[in-house]
């Protein structure tokens, strides 16, 4: 069922769905409104975080620490916004085609299921990437305060982009799976919350419980403790929120000490003989696995005509109005 290889490769970069969906999206008032709202929220976060940090650390720390904390704050908020907008733009990509009754016509064209899913994914994620790109000047402003090196900046963007990709791919899969956009959107938000904030919250609680348990049963923790600290819960390894805070607060060595999980997971990082996998690397790999599963699952569903849950046969279509069914000659 696949088209010729040159055609398939050409569809990777020149895919009509990318152009069509892109045009349709930017021609509404919603696109500039979302970008404006997004930048406004990030700007507000910078202002509040900077004000708060300067008040708290007045005289105690230099601008580097302030810059690091503000940068971490806006990186986390940006990730939260990506989690907020991602399902909204991707979960209706295929179910929307079905609801507009354009999916069949698309399937009868020379577009392979691969090309359709790829075009839809790129078109959906492109808008999120536009948001991330639009926020770069905000990050650059904070970057000048110091405290964050370029590698940390790149890691933060990598974690955010791969999270956007995985949310897009999984939402797209759900969009093929469910007949209605409402259902796919609700499930996509549930999934996004579970693998981002949910893993962070649950992982942190479980780690804290293990931490407390270790304190109670084995005495003080840390390098001076009898058996060393208990490890962070594995759920934290796949949380992009944790990966961001860990990468941005740890790498330059000046930890705030607010998150024991960071301390416990990779003390000193690989260079210091700590855990081989930095949290951000584990998270990026996990997100890429989700991207692959999402894309392959969506293509599999589309190719096998297992188009929807609760799909009805053509014979079950609602009857046409009587005047159309039995027109008078």
């Amino acid at each position: 069922m696949m088209g010729s290889t040159p055609t398939s490769l050409r569809r990777l970069v020149k895919n009509p769905l990318i152009v069509k969906d892109g045009l349709s999206r930017v021609r509404t008032w919603r696109a500039p409104a979302v970008i404006a709202l997004y930048l406004a929220v990030l700007g507000l976060v910078v202002y509040l975080a900077l004000t708060f940090q300067l008040a708290v650390f007045r005289g105690g720390f230099g601008f580097a620490q302030v810059g690091r904390n503000v940068f971490t704050a806006i990186a986390e908020v940006q990730l939260a916004l990506v989690c907020l907008f991602g399902p909204a733009v991707a979960a209706g990509a295929v179910s929307g085609e079905r609801e507009r009754q354009t999916l069949d016509v698309l399937m009868v064209s020379s577009m392979t299921p691969w090309a359709i899913i790829w075009g839809k994914l790129v078109a959906s994620v492109a808008f999120i990437l536009l948001l991330i790109t639009a926020a770069l000047p905000v990050f650059a402003t904070v970057f000048f305060l110091g405290g964050i090196d370029f590698e940390q900046f790149l890691i933060s963007q990598l974690v955010t982009v791969t999270t956007a990709l995985s949310i897009g791919a999984v939402s797209l899969f759900l969009s093929v799976l469910f007949q209605r956009t409402l259902a796919s959107t609700v499930v996509a938000y549930g999934f996004t919350f579970a693998v981002t904030a949910g893993t962070w919250l649950v992982g942190t609680v479980l780690t804290q419980m293990a931490f407390a348990q270790a304190q109670i049963s084995k005495g003080p923790i840390g390098p001076t403790g009898p058996t060393g600290p208990p490890g962070a819960h594995p759920l934290l390894l796949i949380s992009p929120f944790h990966a961001l805070s860990s990468a941005l607060q740890n790498a330059s060595g000046a930890r705030l000490g607010l998150q024991p999980a960071n301390v416990l997971l990779s003390p000193g990082g690989p260079a210091a003989g700590g855990t081989a996998f930095e949290p951000w690397l584990a998270t990026v790999l996990f997100q890429l696995v989700l991207v692959g599963l999402g894309i392959f699952g969506a293509v599999w569903l589309l190719r096998g005509r297992r188009i929807t849950l609760l799909q009805r046969s053509p014979a079950h279509r609602p009857a046409l109005p009587p005047e159309i069914e039995h027109p008078t000659p």
């Binding site: 020379s110 014979a315 079950h316 027109p327």
Partner: protein
Amino acid sequence: MIAVEGLRKRFGHQVALQHLNFAVPQGEIFGFLGPNGAGKTTTIRILATLTSPDGGTATIGGIPVDRDAFRVRRLIGYMPDFFGVYDRLSTLEYLEFYADCHDVPPRRQRAVAHELLELVDLTARAGDQVDTLSRGMKQRLCLARALVHDPQVLLLDEPASGLDPRARIEMRELIRELRRMGKTILISSHIVPEVEELCTWIGVIDRGRMVEVGPKADVLRRAVGGRRLRIELANVEDQTLGAAQKWIAERGDVIAAEVVDNALELSVGEDFVKHRLLRDLVHAGFDVDSFTSVTGNLSDVFMRLTVSAAGDA
């Protein structure tokens, strides 16, 4: 061009198609008639490679639809019984998008879109957004969309449903024009008079089985049980009609003559020479007002062949 043999399809416990057989020669307009749920849309979706059959074969241009879907898709233009359109795209962009989806070379896409807009008489609306078009215009645009890759076969599912009389006539003329361009066209429809007027071949499907199929003239002839003539006289008094009936019945070349609605209807053989009877009638002193061949009525055929379904409903 289209050949269907022993096609079967079930949806759960419901049988949609049972050993469906028919063929559509190249260049014909095939009218696919049947009541709701008879299996028309299922058949068209199988031919359009959107649904897999449970058994039997369906080929287009000799290519099995369930084995080489992508080659079949290059041969067919599919217009479903609904028109899905994208918001915020102009009619020109809409056609260019589908031309791209059908691998029309980029340098040809705009030209193809303009040619098709001209064909469906929408050139003046090239810059208008698709969702601002009337229903008839959208239907014509969807037909143009099915033509972007110049397919040899058109599968049109209810192309005139919901259209007003003017839009229906425009659609009919457009389909005739496409036949002149050499396309083979399969149309499913509920609108019997329209199929009768437009199509050259007829197929009637009932509960998943093809109950009548063939060239339109043959189907209509079979519907009236052979070749028939209708003769209306100037004087419709019983005596005159009776005398004419007796006079005609005595001729050896007429199978039967009967009075129907103040006129005579004759059953005659295939080799019967009509003008000789007309001349003899006039010479015998009967004033003939009208002398016509009786062709069957497709509505009657449809109702007779699908009555079982209605009765079971």
